[in-house]
């Protein structure tokens, strides 16, 4: 490294004592070069690793949809990254406090699946999934220094929150009707939902190929043709070999970053280790048993309700769906006259809530629209809620017709 690494100390010392100004400055080139190389590596490696789109045989959109439908992946393990950007105001810790507070009020266990579902609504999360046949599945939500795991093993469904060392125990029979007790989190869950909405009003095309988690995949592009929806496009990367959706991206019509982006970063179709699904509550852990017949109803409905109806009280009547396809609007009556106290009424709180939404009026009367980048919700002053992945105008129109 240096020329003075000699046992001849005097010579070395002299050489060091009088380095010329230029040589002094030249030494600083070393750290600068290290920074440069590191920056170049960080910048270039992803670009180089992106070795272009794989060449795969041509396939029609219908064939690809059939491929997804026929896909029967029983065994897999992998890591999924889910990013959600609804454009909600960032409430930071408040959000999780509210969420866990709500769950606590419910049945007092932080290991209840419902208390963790709401976490997925904003930000980026890493999940691990593992499955071995229909009876053994595991879904873990990776947190900093902790993990929340949902394990389905035969007739048992366990939820384990390592942060609080609490365990939630249910039985698969109690959650009958859905053999997966897990919230929708994998690209496949989202893709299934999106494909349900495919009808005459949708354009479905194969949009080339891509590499996802090191596997060759086809890209299926779903675009609603109807006006009035806020959904711009849905892109699903489908594994060419197994037909399993590997990545799901939902972009809003308004453009910008994806509202929802869920994709495998790593996936393997080998059988996961059997010990993955073994769970015995750790000594001293607080175990909460699932209440009878109260199935964890953690479906897309809850998800939507969590998004759209966060402000409204629980509906006195179940939600009714107006329209179909992409422009369908869920509506329910809160039963509470007054809706959101807007403007002058309701004092300071009303002013705060009102400032979050926009005042609209129409034939139905007056109301407040709360907007996110995907879901809009209209709460009328007579207590009705209209919500959907549609534009404000479509909500007002629906409210007018509902009058």
């Amino acid at each position: 490294m240096a020329p003075y690494e000699s046992d001849d100390a005097t010579a070395a010392a002299q050489a060091e004592d009088a380095p010329s100004g230029r040589r002094k400055a030249a030494r600083y080139a070393v750290p600068v070069a290290v920074v440069g190389v590191a920056a170049a590596t960080i910048g270039l490696v992803p670009a180089l690793a992106d070795s272009g789109d794989p060449a795969l045989p041509k396939i029609t959109a219908q064939q690809l949809i059939d491929k997804i439908a026929k896909s029967d992946v029983q065994r897999l393990s992998g890591t999924v990254k889910v990013s959600t950007d609804l454009g909600l105001p960032n409430l930071g810790g408040l959000e999780s406090t509210l969420a866990s507070g709500a769950a606590r009020g419910g049945d007092g266990s932080s290991a209840d699946p419902k208390s963790h579902l709401t976490e997925l609504v904003s930000g980026t999360h890493t999940l691990r999934v593992a499955a071995d046949g229909p009876d053994r599945q595991k879904l873990s939500l990776l947190e900093s220094g902790a993990e929340y795991s949902m394990i389905h093993d035969g007739k048992d469904v366990w939820g384990y929150d390592s942060k609080t060392n609490e365990v939630y125990h249910g039985t698969a029979a109690a959650s009958a009707g859905r053999h997966r007790a897990a919230p929708p989190a994998t690209p496949k869950d989202f893709a299934d939902e999106a494909l349900k909405a495919v009808d005459g009003t949708t354009s479905v095309t194969v949009d080339g190929t891509a590499q996802v988690a090191g596997r060759d995949a086809y890209k299926l592009l779903i675009k609603p043709k109807q006006s009035g929806t806020t959904v711009g496009a849905v892109s699903i990367a489908v594994d060419a070999k197994t037909g399993m959706p590997l990545k799901f991206t939902l972009t809003p019509r308004s453009g910008g970053a994806a509202v929802l982006d869920a994709g495998f970063t790593q996936v393997s179709f080998a059988r996961p280790a059997a010990s993955t699904f073994d769970f015995t509550p750790p000594k001293g852990a607080k175990v909460t048993e699932e209440k009878d017949r109260r199935a964890p109803q953690a479906g897309g409905e809850d998800f939507a309700k969590g998004l759209g109806g966060a402000h409204g009280p629980q509906g006195a009547h179940g939600p009714k769906v107006l329209g179909k396809g992409w422009t369908s609007i869920a509506t329910f009556d809160t039963g509470a006259k007054g809706g959101v106290p807007s403007g002058s009424r309701g004092g300071q709180l009303g002013g705060f809530l009102g400032s979050l939404g926009d005042q609209v009026s129409g034939k139905f009367g007056k109301g407040t629209v709360f907007s996110t980048r995907l879901v809009n919700a209209l709460i009328t002053d007579d207590g009705k809620v209209y919500a959907g992945a549609v534009t404000k105008d479509a909500l007002v129109k629906a409210a007018d017709q509902g009058k």
Binding site: A2, P31, V35, S144, G145, A146, S149, K163, F279
Partner: protein, 294 residues
């Protein structure tokens, strides 16, 4: 400094190796004999004792679960069931501040302390060369990183074994592993934590070559540490945060997942290596070009 210990050189590379070893040994002994170093290690050893006693007192009333709501450092809820978790909790509690502060004090003192004490020129009179002296100093600081981490881990293990039961443990993914496996993971975690401090050690050494005042170098290093920790908490800087050296520090907890989640661990080690290369070479550039007047 016992320079005279170096044996007379027969020929070739061998004496140099011996020479370097002698230099390293004398550096290590000097560093570890300082009261300041011993006090730092004592404080570090006391942290697990405090945490252990606090958890024991808190749960004495029969409530077996940990603190409500999952607050506090990682793993704290599991300590009552398995004393081994005290090792992880103690490391999680000391890594953000105590450990890097101790390393910052030792690293900041490495060159500037000698310069301030007027001993640096005597070190350089010996036929060692500045590069080798710097490498020896850095090796000493890294040895201190490892020692400090092990002090915390061993103290935590001792306290954990005394106050709480030991045995098979549940990973944070919910699977069970044997005690021997758990102990192995604890050792691995201690090594990863020690490696996490390599970046701050290089930073401290660089700062140490900039000044002739040991106190100034220590204060600057610890000040930088605090500043970077604060920057790492600001969400608006999210583009910058992955390149701040403490950003992935707590990723050592990923070793307690089953299977182990390597992504962030690898990022952490890579980032530490980068900091070590950048600030190590900057320290070399500064130290070999600097006028030594004290």
């Amino acid at each position: 400094m016992s320079r005279a210990e170096a044996p007379p050189a027969p020929a070739g590379r061998r004496p140099r190796a011996l020479w370097t070893f002698g230099l390293l040994r004398s550096e290590l002994v000097t560093t570890l004999r300082r009261w300041r170093t011993l006090a730092l290690l004592g404080v570090l050893a006391a942290v697990p004792v405090l945490v252990g006693i606090a958890v024991k007192v808190e749960t004495r009333g029969g409530s077996s679960s940990g603190p409500d709501g999952g607050g506090g450092p990682a793993f704290i809820a599991q300590i009552t069931n398995n004393g081994l978790f005290l090792v992880f909790t103690a490391l999680a509690a000391t890594l953000p501040f105590f450990l890097p502060m101790a390393v910052g004090v030792v690293a900041g003192d490495a060159i500037a302390g000698e310069a301030g004490g007027g001993t640096l020129r005597y070190l350089l009179v010996a036929p060692a060369g500045r590069t080798r002296l710097l490498l020896t100093k850095y090796t000493t600081v890294m040895a201190f990183c490892l020692l400090a981490t092990l002090v915390v881990a061993v103290s935590a293990l001792a306290v954990g074994a005394l106050l709480f039961p030991l045995g098979d443990l549940t990973t944070i993914s919910g699977t069970r592993i044997g005690f021997a496996d758990g102990l192995g993971r604890a050792l691995l975690i201690a090594l990863v934590v020690a490696a996490s401090l390599v970046g701050v050690a290089a930073l401290g050494l660089f700062v140490s070559t900039l000044t002739n005042s040991g106190i100034a170098a220590m204060a600057t290093t610890v000040g930088l540490l605090i500043t970077v920790q604060i920057l790492d908490q600001i969400p608006q800087l999210h583009a910058l945060r992955p390149y701040l050296f403490p950003h992935y520090w707590l990723s050592f907890a990923d070793l307690m997942r089953d299977p182990v989640y390597w992504d962030d661990l690898v990022k952490n080690l890579g980032l530490q290596a980068l900091y070590a290369a950048v600030f190590g070479s900057a320290a070399w550039a500064r130290f070999t070009a600097k006028d030594i007047s004290a």
